[in-house]
Symmetry: C2
């Protein structure tokens, strides 16, 4: 099979009419003037973002979900995506059918379609890039820079699970399966993002760790965030010391929870959203005038040290 055969067999079934059967030079769709288009790209590189020996289905889901999480963070509804894979010749036959199956399952779950992409060989490692497209009503996407003085800072779910899953990936101890699953399958908070569209002033998904991502909100809003480390929701059911859990929450990446600001008057609306969606929402800080650092800790928390992930 050459690349055209692979595309025909495994990717064409994932498309809609925008993709023109993946047999044209580009995808084409009519623009809708009531809506903004929201576009984001995330790459997963073998050996960096995934081990390489996972089930290709899981790698597919992770690739799509990290991108879906960006749509959630914008309060946007995902509509379609395109996909580029570079893969060594000796892996393609095994990898692609399972990879496409994973995409298929998650497309169904999250309601979006493939519209195009590229399939090429590579020398050594697999590289996957997805560009995702979403929509909001005009000017209704949520930036990182909209937080106001006095806003409260909230986070969804519990933090640190994914980092704990990664650090304990080979353990067979009971209680770690939730964490390992969270590492493998991020849960993009797409519906939550949509519900927060009218509530949040600023929003980001936590992919690089709470401290780093919170600092993006603070920096873009020209404010400081005061974090209350005692309030950070931790996975306390896991049998690890609290300072390990807290460090994972503060600096571990890949949580893909939503971190957002809103006016104090919205606290009751948030309780409703939390109940409706069955997702924990926790107040973990507030915004104040910028003072030296973008992230400050209530009571000068001892764990504060910048050790978030950096690629270079």
């Amino acid at each position: 099979m050459n690349e055209f055969d692979y595309i025909e067999k495994y990717f064409k079934p994932l498309t809609n009419e925008v993709a023109r059967n993946l047999s044209d030079d580009a995808a084409v769709f009519k623009q809708r003037s009531k809506y903004d288009l929201v576009v984001s790209t995330d790459t997963l590189a073998e050996g960096i973002h995934f081990f390489g020996n996972e089930n290709p289905k899981d790698i597919a889901k992770k690739s799509l979900r990290v991108n879906l999480s960006d749509m959630a963070a914008m309060g946007a509804k995902p509509i379609f995506y395109n996909l580029s894979i570079s893969i060594p010749k000796n892996k393609v036959k095994y990898f692609l059918p399972k990879f496409a199956k994973g995409l298929d399952e998650d497309q169904e779950l999250f309601g979006l379609k493939l519209i195009g992409g590229d399939l090429t060989s590579s020398l050594q490692n697999i590289n996957i890039t997805i560009t995702i497209f979403g929509e909001t009503l005009n000017k209704k996407s949520i930036s990182r820079g909209g937080a106001k003085l006095g806003d409260l800072l909230f986070v969804s779910g519990v933090l640190g699970l994914s980092k704990i899953g990664l650090d304990n990936f080979k353990t067979k101890l009971k209680g770690f399966s939730v964490a390992k699953n969270k590492y493998l399958f991020p849960e993009p908070r797409v519906d939550l993002g949509l519900s927060l569209n009218k509530i949040a002033n600023s929003m980001i998904d936590i992919s690089d760790g709470l401290v780093q991502d919170a600092s993006h909100l603070a920096k873009n809003s020209n404010l400081s965030i005061v974090l209350d480390a005692e309030k950070i929701p931790l996975p306390l059911s896991i049998n690890l010391k609290k300072d390990i859990l807290l460090n994972a929450a503060l600096y571990g990446g890949d949580d893909y929870e939503l971190l957002f600001s809103c006016k104090p008057t919205y606290e009751n609306s948030l309780k409703k959203v939390s109940l409706e969606q069955n997702i924990k929402l926790t107040r973990i800080g507030f915004f104040q005038k910028f003072k030296k650092e973008h992230i400050l800790f209530q009571n000068q928390h001892q764990f504060y040290q910048n050790k978030s992930y950096s690629h270079f």
Copy 2:
């Protein structure tokens, strides 16, 4: 420098307001209902699409130009692009400044802006994915499937140059520099594509070789193409045997010339376009009812054998 510093220093200057300073989770723009959006993605993998020891400026231009060529093939006006690079840690410091410079020069030349992307490390090789966005008026993009019975087949420029440049990359013989340059710097026919928007019924850019790309037009239009090998425009100034030139034209990739069909009545309009744009346009065949093969040769040309590039 971490990835945020690199992005801030080298990529932010390439953006417009759609990119939101590259400091948000996504790019956002208002849709315009009179226009269709045309989206395409091409990846360049080190060791597959480029050697790796070229000047990063040249690699940047090639990455952007292969994508621009897809816009040309749709008759679309390129407006912006996003970019993902995965690169080994030890190469980033040298590579990125030059790479960004190359993008900057070509953005200027072709009139488009960067709106977002991703920068990650990789284990071994550089991998570059660009998703390009263009526009046409509603329903005015040109597909591969619109050729009609009796249409003529035209091609721009001369064919085979890029393959000859690649095969003779290390020669110091005079006369090969045009070919080597064509391999390094594809010339996307963006303005020509726009001029052909009202003339061509179907169109493709030649990236995989004339025979393979012509077969896409024929297949998608449910017709056969009869090619006149004697008419194919060859780079005759290069001191190589004619059969080598012809083989390069038929099966060599990376020419990025436009191959298109139009009604015979448009031949005069094409002469005008050719003069205006100073680009050679040559009639090399016609479309007939499908008969056994999608590509037929006038006089059963001896060079016909399928050996186009395949990734797998």
